[in-house]
Amino acid sequence: MKNWMKGTLLASGLALGFAGAASASELTIVSWGGAYTKSQVKAYHEPYTAMTGTKIKSEDYSGGLAEVKAQVEAGNVSWDLVDVELSDAIRGCDEGILETIDHSILPAAPDGTPASEDFIEGTLHECAVGLIVWSTVYAYDTTKFSGDQPSTIGDFFDTAKFPGKRGLRKGPKPNLEFALIADGVAAADVYDVLATPEGVDRAFAKLDTIKDSAIWWEAGAQPPQMLADGEVVMSTAYNGRIFNAVATENKPFEIVWDGQVWDLDLWVIPKGAPNKDEAMKFAAFSSDTQRLADQASWISYGPVRKSSTALIGKHAEAGIDMAPHMPTAPENFGNALQNDFEFWADHQDELNERFNAWLAQ
């Protein structure tokens, strides 16, 4: 029955003349959109197309494994390479929806150091190749506050001292971490506290204090836009997005690094990707020393190769020195927390559900 139907429907499709045949030298690469995708297009895609002639289709998504899993389980994969967070890379690998990546295809550093030693520890995984270190911070519009300016994560939750709407990512991660740090938990203890029911209650209770002032965002491009439109006075955001709004559009935004939660972005290949081999080649090409350093000249995210760090220069358009704007710069890294992928892989469903229930109440 199914085959018969498939035949008929496909035939009618062919008759219409739109059967989309994917040609061999094409890649669909999915990333987070906006300034971040632009940095990848400039540093990875364009040189790769120039070198190999492979046409690259760039798609945007807003994170999570959902689409990848939907494609793999429904048996119709159209994405070749996806830029994901670490917890999703681990979880996807566990669930068998990602291809394993042979690390021997990754090029060595210019001085001959093999890739396995050149990548910072923890940035190469069975199914994933690391690209950058990024971080979630909060930023505010400097024109909105006369006198004292927000300077700690606690100020984000202080609506009495700094009135106005706040933008937050629509999801528990990393709002719960922010809430606990703002509530006085040391960065190092956040996940231990969050693993207990009381800790979760405490985090939600802290979020309750700003719930009425919260506007929720889903895509990384939204926070700078919401700040620019005056929809919010401060917002959590990916640091690179805010940097770009300041560097290239001269927006009056200021990043507060206190309590930043940093994470990795990695390439993964969905199981059964239509152009798997080409995707592997691209993953190797784009994560070489020069490409990662080039990307850092478009957006303030730190490369995961040790050999790239020395090559970071100025912003390609604004001419700003990039090094001090990286999440890992010493002056920014004081009270930083690494996103705990194991914690999130375990508690994602429960906390998502609870977050949704909390939001709907």
Binding site: G13, L16, F18, G20, G34, K57, D60, N76, S78, Q222
Partner: protein
């Protein structure tokens, strides 16, 4: 109450004007948001508010840059001078142009399918001897009633199973299914006023059934078929949920592009696109009105 009778009491006079003010306010509520948006699409600044220069109608406060952006956004080389290669680049690479092409391709093919199948079905449904008419009509109209999220979710699984999701045929079939109820309804409505004596007269004058169909039936139901087709087209042209579930970048349509734009950043370009869509709606509205008048005239001519 259209005009106030001379014997109206003061209370009635107050009520009369209050009523009109209320109705006026409702009509303003309906039309205002659409009208307010149009001048803002010509804003020279990337904001969504009227600044003092715009209110003062200064020409420098207005610009067509967002309309130009529709053609430029996504081009390989947006800075080149206008010329043949600019047009070719825009036609092949600009994102909005890409979506616009897709919207028309999908809309037109879906409309052809749903108009053909819907008209045929309506002709059958209005036959006197159609069995289970009510039940079958209810089933055929269901795509209009079932919440779109349920339809789209169902189609997502099924079309993935048979390899049609993320293809043009898949989304065309989906939109055709969503558009057929409109054709069935409008053509049935036209046929319900149809005088069957005309067919009998034609037959008694010696016309073959085919000739009767093309010379008598078709001209009479044509306005209904065309307005049904327009409904089907606008349904596809405006549809976004099935597109979200069933397509990828390659088949992205205008509403899909607007959807991502609205969820990420509302650029004034979206307002420019929206203004163009309003213009298209106005054209459709005029076409439908002309068709309705034509249909009424034809009906008026037929006896009974």
């Amino acid at each position: 109450m259209s005009s106030l009778p001379p014997y109206a009491s003061p209370l009635e006079i107050v009520w009369h004007y209050a009523f009109r003010v209320f109705c006026g306010a409702v009509l303003v509520f309906l039309i205002m948001p659409i009208l307010v948006m149009i001048p803002l699409s010509f804003n020279a600044e990337p904001y969504f508010t009227y600044n003092s220069d715009m209110v003062a109608l200064k020409p420098e406060a207005y610009s067509t840059r967002w309309y130009v952006d529709i053609f430029k956004n996504g081009m390989a080389d947006p800075h080149q001078d206008f010329g043949f290669s600019f047009i070719a680049d825009s036609w092949n690479n600009a994102q909005w142009i890409h979506s616009m092409k897709n919207s028309f391709i999908i809309g037109i093919f879906a409309t052809i399918i749903s108009t053909f199948l819907g008209t045929l079905a309506a002709l059958g449904l209005t036959r006197a001897h159609m069995p289970y008419r009510k039940l079958i009509t209810a089933i055929l109209i269901s795509p209009m009633i079932v919440p779109i999220i349920i339809s789209a979710a169902g189609m997502f699984f099924f079309y993935s199973d048979i390899g049609l999701s993320q293809t043009f045929p898949g989304i065309i079939l989906a939109h055709a299914a969503l558009g057929t109820p409109f054709v069935v309804i409008t053509v049935t409505a036209t046929l319900s006023g149809f005088d069957n004596n005309l067919v009998r007269a034609s037959a008694s004058l010696g016309a073959t059934p085919q000739r009767t169909f093309f010379k008598v039936i078709v001209p009479l139901i044509a306005p209904g078929v065309i307005s049904g087709g327009l409904f089907a087209f606008i349904t596809s042209f405006d549809e976004v949920v099935a597109v979200i579930f069933l397509t990828e970048f390659e088949q992205r349509t205008i509403p899909r592009q607007m959807w991502s734009g609205l969820r990420e950043q509302i650029s004034p370009t979206i307002l420019a696109v929206a203004t163009i869509l309003v213009a298209i709606s106005v054209l459709l509205l005029i076409t439908l009105e002309v068709l309705r008048r034509r249909s009424e005239r034809l009906r008026g001519m037929s006896p009974g």
